[in-house]
């Protein structure tokens, strides 16, 4: 027999969204995760953000697993997270890391909360009596909190903690805490844990307006706030009330609001010569929201330098912000803010539109504060004993944003890579999980086997009889206001209830034994458990029930105190108890009519199809193959490499795509797990996750093959865009950046004698007619080419005419480098585009210089056009073949632009790289890794477990009208034309119930959410308390 391998465990340090995502992805594969966070709770910055662009609302829950929902929480992520394979350890800091890759010992300091969450009854009487009030940091001081407090208002369970710096040790809280959960003398605790791999997802410190010198000219009043604080001002759990955004200083409505960009970023003088990447979108979103939430009359103005709307959909968002919402954008970095005697805030700026100075008063100024990475990176470098690179950041391997250089088993994700937006945080989290998975499979670590839920037994299908078990907290009977005897009697009389047991402390060991004892003798086939914090105990209690012989789908746990307390002031014990009984009855009803469920498994064909043999496609293929997954790599051209791999020798950040592609090709061909199909296109696909069948057609021979695979990745890439503008093609002095790049590399283009070289950015891009998006790489390409020209001919003057320089993140240093090298950047606006005219065989470019406000005429020896990136034309065919969507620009439309950037709506299909949107090479590789991980999560086993709660078809009732097929948002329902029936893909189905409503006679139904159950719950809710119980 094979030796039992240890279960792979990964420490994810930092429970912001990227860390959470990495943890969930690993847990889905079956690895154990220890998810720690230095703060008292999880969620990171996003816990503070109620609104995220582009929908301007939340959607965080969409990062929960789609398949295997059984094993994780199914509720708002801002409440909390649960997954069977994830251990969450908040308020813990890593003190030391010993050992090496595959064998780490990590010392963790668990900080004392002083409130034991296992004992806390969440009644908050302690908070009521606490005499200490301090500013609530969660709301950036806009509100107050007590010394004993709940850090994040939405969290469930509440996880109270005591702020010992504020606490006066008066002991009032201890006096009122009936469960004895508070221990003022609690000590920090050191624990050591063994893990195989570590993912750092701590994020970085953010610039704050009180700490830094350069903010002092701006932060002159409480009404000058950071962008994060502004989020809290707009939040219902922050200071937003009554539809008005209020000034912190006096609570007056803020009507005129200004945003000042780049606060703390793009500042060489303050040694922060980088862009924080997300602040532009952040400000645009806030400006739009302010107008929407603040009511009529709110004016939003953003002072910016370059509006960096480089990501997918960002440009449209910007255009909408300006055109639909009327947000003012003013390109001017202001010197400071002055507080007027009336409290208003004065800003003087130079308006480039009118070319005049303007002095204007604002009610509120928001500083778009960015990242402060160095401190955090240094901390990690010291802890992990790794070196920082020349920029002072943790060094990752070439081409990787995730793998720490020279440290196998150590990965980073999220804002440690530089501030990331939600989408990138997700991609990086998945990619980091992927790298860790690769590492773990490499060392042979095992995964957790999911326990299957058995088919229901005959006993479970019998007429339902409910056993109600009520957990009582030790000695403190009645202390929480529940009269157990009354409750028990009330429920005992209820129809369908077989027995009611009050059991002491089921959450503890002896309670467990007692429960097991009682329940294993029961005649009932359903169990309803009332406990104080079901979120915390649910799993334990369900395990007890399982041991006692209950089918776990027929066991429900309810929050005994929560339901009675919800939103109500505390009535008398009797009233409360009766109300609780009343609420419980609804739960009984629902359980009574619930059928026994089981988790179906889905057979998996463990082969992957990767479409596109560019760098992204090859990366995905290699990554999957490395984990033993057979991959078919399909490329429509006669060679691998894609656009970058066949055309681009070097990038501005020192990468060599052509050399890299060559190297990858070699690896691809050598890998026995990879089959390459050249000159081949995928033309049609049927099936679902685990069992797709695709038709592959060879273009040269017209030969067709049918490939069975379990998942597919679209990595179709893109290519340099085309344009009819500026006489491209009419003169050999006019060319694209790609042509120049090639020409410079080959020597075909000689810049030796050139005096003036003009580059025009955004040709045909970022405008409604044409590419309505930023191609993200053109600025870097232009800079790389310009630097090359300067290298060859230092006397040549290179002019780059731009709209916004999109050197986001640490690419900013290349912009700086380019300026230092003497490259001249001149801004133009879309409504005043440069004009070109050939004079004596030479292009002459005319444009309006926004700085000098003068028409400039530039004779150019070379005119170079940045024509952006176009999606592959084959995308539309593929989209049809795979029944996935394209966006208006011809790129693939991911399932969710923020939370599911790598997936298609249809499970089992993924996308990576430029197929998603134009992006730099390192991001392509990261997405390719992420896509491979998404596929691997399901391809790693012969079958996957889906979920017990799933939509079903009652075939005998079904008339095949297919309305359910049409309405399903996940494409989980399909009409089988051969069998003439409706099929449900159990992996794709998310049990939203839309099919069930659409189906008029309940031929479609979600198990566990049947109309029968819901209708009886409505009854229970509406019946007067006493009437519910038959009179004896």
């Amino acid at each position: 027999m094979a030796e039992k391998k240890p279960t792979g465990t990964v420490l994810v340090a930092g429970a912001g969204i990227s860390g959470i995502k990495a943890a969930i992805e690993l847990a889905e594969v079956g690895y154990k995760v220890l998810l720690t966070d230095a703060s008292t709770q999880i969620g990171g910055i996003l816990a503070k953000l109620d609104y995220q662009f582009p929908t301007d609302h939340c959607g965080m829950c969409r990062m929960l697993p789609m398949v295997g929902r059984e094993y994780s929480s199914q509720y708002c992520m801002r409440k909390s997270l649960f997954h069977e394979n994830i251990e969450i350890m908040p308020f813990a800091e890593i003190q030391a890391v010993h050992g090496d890759a595959g064998n780490y010992k990590v010392d963790l300091l668990k900080r004392a909360r002083y409130v034991d969450p296992l004992l806390c009854n969440e009644l908050e009487e302690c908070i009521a009596v606490c005499p200490v009030e301090v500013a609530d940091e969660f709301n950036h001081g806009l509100t107050k909190r007590k010394a004993i407090y709940q850090a994040i208002p939405h969290n469930t369970p509440k996880l109270l903690a005591i702020d010992k710096q504020a606490c006066t040790n008066c002991g009032e809280c201890v006096k009122v805490c009936t469960p004895g959960a508070i221990n003022l003398g609690a000590q920090d605790e050191m624990v050591t844990r063994e893990v195989q791999s570590i993912i750092l997802a701590s994020g970085v410190k953010l610039y704050n307006t009180t700490e830094f010198e350069d903010a002092k000219s701006y932060a002159v009043s409480p009404d000058v706030v950071s962008s994060l604080a502004f989020e809290r001002m707009m939040s219902s759990s922050g200071s937003y009330r009554d539809g008005e955004i209020k000034r912190p200083s006096d609570g007056q409505p803020a009507k005129n609001i200004a945003w000042i960009q780049c606060m703390g970023s793009r500042n060489r003088r303050q040694k922060r010569d980088y862009c924080s990447s997300i602040c532009c979108m952040f400000a645009l979103k806030e400006a739009v929201l302010a107008k929407e939430k603040g009511g009529p009359g709110v004016e939003s103005t953003i002072f910016y330098m370059d509006m960096r709307t480089f990501g997918k959909g960002f440009q449209q968002y910007r255009d909408d912000a300006v055109e639909k919402h009327g947000v003012n954008l003013i390109r001017c970095r202001v010197q400071g803010v002055m507080r007027n005697p009336d409290g208003s805030l004065q800003i003087r700026y130079f308006d480039p539109e009118t070319n005049e100075f303007v002095i204007k008063d604002y009610d509120l100024v928001v500083l778009s504060t960015g990242q402060i990475p160095y401190e955090t990176h240094k901390k990690w470098a010291d802890l992990l004993n790794v070196k920082l690179d020349s920029r002072g950041l943790l060094a990752t391997e070439d081409y990787s944003k995730i793998r720490l250089a020279g440290k196998p088993g150590l990965f980073i994700c999220g804002s440690l890579m530089g501030l990331t937006d939600v989408s990138e945080a997700m991609s990086s989290g998945i990619a980091a999980a992927g790298e860790a998975t690769k590492f773990l499979t490499g060392i042979g670590a095992d995964t957790v086997k999911e326990e299957e839920i058995a088919e229901p037994t005959a006993h479970e299908r019998e007429l339902s009889l409910v056993s109600v078990a009520i957990c009582k907290c030790g000695e403190k009977t009645g202390a929480n206001g529940i009269d157990y005897e009354l409750l028990s009697a009330e429920l005992q009389r209820y129809r369908g209830v077989g027995e009611v047991n009050v059991i002491d402390s089921m959450c503890k060991e002896n309670g467990e034994t007692a429960a097991l004892d009682i329940l294993s003798k029961t005649k009932c086939n359903r169990l309803l458990i009332g406990a104080c914090q079901p979120f915390m105990y649910r799993q334990n209690l369900k395990n007890v029930a399982r041991k006692a012989g209950f089918n776990s789908s027929l066991v429900e746990v309810f929050d005994l105190f929560g339901i009675a307390r919800k939103g109500m002031t505390l009535p008398s014990n009797k009233e409360w108890t009766l109300r609780a009984a009343h609420e419980v009855k609804a739960d009984i009803e629902k359980l009574k009519f619930k059928p026994a469920l089981h988790v179906s498994t889905l057979p998996i064909n463990q082969t992957a199809l990767v479409v596109g043999g560019g760098i992204g496609g090859m990366q995905s293929a290699l990554s999957l193959a490395a984990r033993g997954v057979p991959v078919h790599l399909v490329e429509k051209d006669g060679q691998l490499g894609g656009y970058l791999g066949n055309n681009v020798e070097a990038t501005v950040d020192g990468l060599a795509p052509m050399a890299m592609a060559k190297d990858m090709q070699l690896k691809v061909y050598q890998n026995k797990n990879i089959t390459v199909h050249l000159n081949c296109e995928a033309e049609g696909t049927v099936g679902t996750l685990g069992s797709f069948e695709s038709k592959l057609v060879y273009k040269d021979s017209d030969e067709k093959i049918y490939l069975h695979h379990g998942a597919a990745i679209m990595a179709t890439g893109g290519h340099e865009g085309a344009t009819s503008e500026y006489g491209l093609g009419s003169s050999n002095l006019i060319m694209t950046q790609g042509q120049l790049k090639k020409g410079l590399a080959s020597g075909d283009i000689d810049v030796g004698g050139a005096e003036n070289i003009v580059m025009i950015q955004c040709v045909g891009s970022r405008q409604k007619e044409g590419r309505h998006y930023c191609s993200r790489i053109c600025c870097m390409w232009a800079i790389a080419n310009a630097l090359k020209i300067k290298e060859k001919n230092p006397d040549a003057r290179v002019f780059i005419l731009y709209r916004d320089v999109m050197t986001y993140g640490f690419y900013e240093q290349y912009y700086s480098k380019a300026r230092t090298a003497g490259i001249i950047f001149m801004n133009y606006s879309l409504d005043n585009k440069p004009q070109m005219e050939m004079v004596e065989g030479k292009p002459v470019v005319k444009f309006m210089d926004s700085i000098l406000n003068e028409e400039i005429e530039l004779p150019a020896d070379l005119l170079v056009l940045s024509t952006g990136v176009d999606p592959e034309e084959s995308n539309s065919k593929l989209a049809k073949a795979f029944k996935v969507a394209l966006n208006d620009d011809g790129f693939f439309a991911e399932a969710d632009s923020k939370w599911r950037p790598i997936e298609f709506q249809q499970v089992g299909l993924y996308l990576a790289g430029t197929a998603h949107s134009p992006m730099p090479l390192k991001s392509v590789i990261m997405q390719a890794e992420a896509a491979a991980q998404k596929a691997y999560a399901y391809l790693s086993g012969r079958e996957v477990h889906t979920s017990s709660v799933i939509s079903k078809v009652k075939d005998a009732l079904c008339i095949r009208c297919q309305r359910c097929v049409n309405i399903c948002p996940y494409g989980a329902r399909s009409y089988d034309d051969m069998e003439k029936c409706i099929n449900v893909d159990p992996a794709a189905c998310q049990a939203c119930g839309m099919c069930a409503v659409e189906c008029q006679n309940n031929a479609a139904e979600v198990t566990g959410w049947s109309d029968k159950q819901l209708l009886s719950v409505i009854d229970a809710k509406l019946m007067d308390e006493l009437l519910l119980s038959p009179v004896e």
Partner: protein
Amino acid sequence: MELCLFLGCNTPAIRPDVERAIRASMPVLGIDLVDADNYVCCPAFGAFPSTDTDSWLATSGWNLSIAEQKGCDIVVQCGSCYSSLRMGREHIMHHPDKKDRVNELLEPTGRRVEGTSKVRHVSEVLYKEIGPETIAGQIKKSLKGMNGVVQYPCHTLFPSEVVGFEDSARAPKGMRQLVEALGANVNSYSRELQCCGGAGGFMKSTPEQAIEFAKSKFDAILAETQTDFIAVSCITCLMHMENVQNTLNKRVGEERYKIPVFDYNQLLALCLGFEAKQVASITNVSRDSVLSRIA
């Protein structure tokens, strides 16, 4: 402590009462002043710094060498002189080629500059060296019951790494604490950190706008404070803020702008018990309202 007093030109020539104030108070507070014999123009930014580096730095070097010979730091009251000297010294100290050139030019004069003497502003000496508490302990009279506003000399703030001594050049505290040390209540107002506008070519090139610019400051003071006086710490601020008030009054046709302006050293000297007619006698905005209340 011994410091070499660099007077510049405006102070000794036009406002010698300020010089008198400095010479009077400093020794009381433990600073011995030595005169910079044969010093020359700092040079003013509008002079050699605007023509060429050699003449600028040679002139700075000339002045710096005087202090170096005396073996002590230089103390300056005039903001422009302070900034020019510091910038000059900065160039000399950080550019060996410039230092060599300066010394080459100085050599025939028997001078040499090494950088051993630092350039200090009188307000820095008072604020950092002596300290508001010591001052508060030394004064014999006080400004108690009076409100003041302060005017920070731009030249002592920006650029902070060259001329600065405040914890934050963008939120300075020195002048406020120094005036408070004399017992006055310092009022804040919106345009506290706005430049007086008196230095350089602004007044010369576009006097209309320069006066408007100054007016906005005075209007803010009148509207937002109950001030009895303005405390400055630069001879240009002192002269300009007085002159502008008279100009403004002519414009508006009434005596609206009549806030007495004092160099801080004058207030200090007065509180240390020196005679107003010696230390605060030269002005064109009456100071009587303040002088009569110093007790």
